[in-house]
């Protein structure tokens, strides 16, 4: 990727992060940590990878993205807003009673949301169904899903992984946001779902790893996914939970908490808004 494009994507990712903090701060609740850890990936997906048309969000020929870790809705909404699906200003209505921006993604009321999610594991399977339907129809549609690392403790994820591997769903690409933390603590302490590469290879997947905060690395991973034509691909995305906001980085306590006014100012400073 050339330097100019990298700079542009970094600026988009920065704005996505600002939107995440604005949304969670306005709602006084929500999940900033895991939203911030996928902000660069979302910037890459929505501005480089996905074949989509924000003016025609229901276009049948579009690529699909399922945010299986639905609690990171602030990240998804902020990316969709940046991409032009709805006004950035609306992020401040997140989780408010009259808003179309629900606490977890609601496909029926939010333009650009391809699947309702929030109950962990289900998006993994839904993405398989989308990929299967397109595969039997011979379309060029690609299907993407983003899973949390904690989410992979759900048995349904492995039901879906077995299904996709056996069905050779090469139009399917999952990304596991491997930030290492879940609500109750480090995933290694709670119920360690690793090692990932060995597990996914055993389930007949193509396995790629990337640095979640390096656009060259993200690009290489998604290109490797496209190049694989006989297996689904999983990208093990090594990320920093809370990335970009100093006091949130690598902190379990910012999984699902909102900053106060003082903390909000620090976050905005960290993100270059002050």
């Amino acid at each position: 990727m050339d330097t100019q494009r990298k700079t542009e994507l970094a600026e988009i990712a920065r704005k996505i992060r600002v939107g995440i903090i604005d949304a969670v701060y306005s709602a006084n609740s929500g999940h900033p940590g895991g939203s911030l850890s996928i902000a660069d990936v979302l910037a890459y997906l929505y501005f480089e990878e996905l074949n989509i048309d924000p003016k025609n969000p229901d276009w049948p020929g579009r690529d699909r993205l399922v945010l299986s870790k639905g609690h990171c809705a602030p990240g998804l909404y902020s990316a969709l807003a940046q991409r032009g699906y709805f006004p950035v200003e609306d992020l401040k209505t997140f989780r408010k009673t009259a808003s179309y921006l629900q606490g977890h993604p609601d496909m029926k009321h939010t333009p650009g949301v391809d699947m309702t999610s929030g109950s962990l594991g289900q998006g993994a399977s839904t993405s398989c169904g989308m990929a299967l339907a397109n595969k039997i129809d011979g379309t060029s549609v690609r299907v993407y899903a983003i899973l949390g690392d904690g989410e992979t403790e759900e048995g349904q994820v492995w039901e879906a992984a077995m299904f996709a591997g056996n069905r050779k769903l090469s139009n399917l690409c999952w990304l596991v946001d491997f930030n290492g933390l879940q609500i109750d603590g480090p995933i290694a302490d709670v119920n360690d779902p690793t090692p990932y590469p060995e597990k996914f290879r055993a389930f007949k997947w193509n396995v790629v790893e990337c640095d979640a905060h390096d656009f060259d690395s993200i690009e290489a991973a998604y290109q490797a996914a496209r190049a694989c034509t006989d297996k689904p691909t999983v990208i093990i995305s090594h990320s920093i939970k809370g990335k970009g906001v100093s006091y949130m980085e690598n902190s379990v306590s910012w999984h699902g908490a909102a900053p106060n006014a003082e903390q909000y100012e620090v976050a905005m400073k960290d993100l270059g808004e002050r």
Binding site: T116, S119, A124, T126, S127, L132, A133
Partner: protein
Amino acid sequence: MADKIATREAYGKALAEFGAIYENLVVLDADLAAATKTATFKKAFPERHFDCGIAENNMICVATGMSLCGKIPFASTFAMFAAGRSFEQIRNSIGYPHNNVKIGATHAGITVGEDGATHQCCEDIALMRTIPGMTILNPADAVEARLAVKAAIEFEGPVYLRFGRMAVPVLFGDDYKFEIGKGVKMADGSDVALIATGIEVEQALGARELLAADGISASVVNISTIKPLDEALVVAEAAKCGAVVTCEEHTVIGGLGGAVCECLAEKKPTPVLRVGIQDEFGRSGPAKELLSYYHLDAAAIAEKAKAAIALK
């Protein structure tokens, strides 16, 4: 009366029949295709039948994903594992977004027979009723089962279809018209209304004959759409007869009995007694024997009807 045929048999045949017309119809199963009878569809359209293996939660959500990419999926397994195991998948991935997925649940109720309580799902209607926007169809015979499948295909939105394992008589002729949300009066009467669903419609008709021998006039109503309930018909029958007995092969909590009581309590308070599984688990045994054991047969309905009349 024609030969007996299980509604699951009619389900499999209907899928194959309508699969020829609807090219976007796909069928998913969870290693039970021979039992759910989706194997009939598989034989006709192997490229549109997807065996997901013993992983029902994944199957339900794979079906959901397919529905979002142009397909009309029927996901099939036993009622226990569809409504039971996968309740939350159905609630969150199908019900909440109102996705166009059809759940073909077979082996519902006590007449699963010898497999016993772990497989006798008598809670599925109650579970599905709690999901906003869910349509629940429980056909009484093979004719109605076929038409229910057709109606579900043509209906936009989630549908739970309930089929049985046991062979049952054919009650309807070829000219029978089926409409989602409409109950059907099978026989008129004035002393008590027997409001039945699924295989209990046959038993209610038998009860009507027993009651007639005692000089009691019973109407029989087939409620094959449990949700949305045909409230107008239920209220009209209750108003006319003044006593109601609900008949279902399902727990009396939250199923047809629950739905009718909720409706009548608000719109036409009437004595209602409920024939069904009385808040207990099933047991192994031949299906027909279990109908008597759990007081679901014609004789038990007739007794309940007399008790209901006494409450007037």
